[in-house]
Amino acid sequence: MIPLVGLAVGVVLGLLLEPTLPTVLQPYLPIAIVAALDALFGAFRAYLEGTFTDRVFVVSFVSNVLIAALIVFVGDQIGVGSQLSTGVVVVLGIRIFTNVAAIRRILFHA
């Protein structure tokens, strides 16, 4: 229950407060979100498999987001920012798909 409420509260807060992100950080938001999605789906799968631990989730979420943004930042500095973003999206996308497939198998047994 807590997760869904937390997500909903976050969405509502974001919509209501409309915080403006500093322009420096704007390029890293999309990639951070993909990393966050990866952590969320991983956590959901672990929850369904009965191995969920909130400490691991918090650590993996924060580190995922920060590392994804950091990779893109470093890429921007050395001139391969968009390519590295693509790489991060591909890797995280594969993980998200794998996790969602596992979640589907657990939920629907299909």
Partner: protein
């Protein structure tokens, strides 16, 4: 991947078993096999941990995650319409300017026609007037006041295909001036560069990175069209100093310099030529 013990079918376990030799390198295998953080499994195997009171951390992180989604969605949706409106506005302004240009051009043509008609009326129909008319008809095209059609040559010149930004490998305003003067010298009746008709008042200048003809900037490649006697124009151009100049640029700098005959060229009049001096007949 060489020995059977390290084949892809081996399922790696977290503890025990020999570590595969390529364990640190099979990125894709690892992504597919370990999509969930292995720490979930490790911590959950530890016997009967007391449930931590870290629920608030979980909630906080999820609030942050939700806020991230909302902010990103807001930003994407807010930026899109702004960009679209700006684009539409720019397109609208360009179209308005183009329409205005067309109207003005039509107006110029109309007024030119009126000037011609008024001149014919004012000159009357006697012998000297007809001589004057004939002179106007002969000189008009030569000075760029009227459009000219006829055979001629087309000269296409362009920068050397090098990637260096060496100005000596690029066509300069001086080079086009030399070429235009060479064409006049070779007997051209009318010359235009990229569709801009040259007259005695035309300025060919460099402005920043671009060459301008009458303050309208040109884009590469430069296509110089000249109406004249097709039998002699090209040969006389080659013999002129301009031909030598451009042969030198083409052979030593690698610039493009191609001349070809054209059966029929149509050059517009120079819009810069206007009626500057007039006087009423008989005064």
């Amino acid at each position: 991947m060489s020995s059977p013990a390290t084949s892809g079918a081996t399922v790696r376990t977290d503890k025990g078993g020999p570590r595969r030799v390529d364990a640190s390198m099979d990125l894709l295998n690892q992504i597919l096999r370990e999509p969930v953080d292995p720490d979930y499994a490790r911590l959950s195997r530890q016997p009967a941990r007391p449930r931590t009171r870290a629920g608030w951390r979980l909630a906080l992180v999820l609030v942050v995650a939700g806020a991230l989604f909302a902010v990103a969605a807001l930003q994407t949706n807010r930026a899109a319409p702004v960009q679209a409106t700006e684009r539409a506005e720019l397109v609208e302004r360009i179209q308005a300017a183009e329409t205005e240009q067309d109207t003005l051009r039509a107006q110029v043509d109309d007024l030119d026609g009126q000037i011609g008609a008024l001149r014919a009326v004012a000159l009357g129909d006697d012998g000297s007037s007809r001589a004057t008319e004939a002179q106007i008809d002969r000189l008009g095209p030569a000075v760029g006041q009227g459009p000219v059609t006829g055979p001629g040559v087309v000269v296409v010149v362009d920068d050397a295909p090098s990637t260096s930004s060496d100005a000596r490998d690029q066509v300069l305003d001086l080079d086009l001036q030399v070429l235009a003067n060479g064409l006049w010298q070779a007997g051209a009746e009318a010359v235009s560069i990229n569709g801009h008709r040259l007259s005695g008042l035309t300025a060919i200048r460099g402005a920043g990175d671009a060459i301008t003809v009458d303050y309208r900037s040109l884009t590469r490649p430069y296509r110089v069209e000249a109406v004249g006697d097709p039998r002699t124009l090209q040969a006389r151009l080659a013999d002129s100093p301009a031909g030598a100049w451009w042969n030198d640029l083409a052979s030593n700098r690698g610039m493009t310099y191609q001349t070809s005959d054209a059966g029929r060229l149509a050059l517009d009049s120079d819009p810069g030529i206007t009626l500057r001096y007039a006087r009423a007949v008989g005064r």
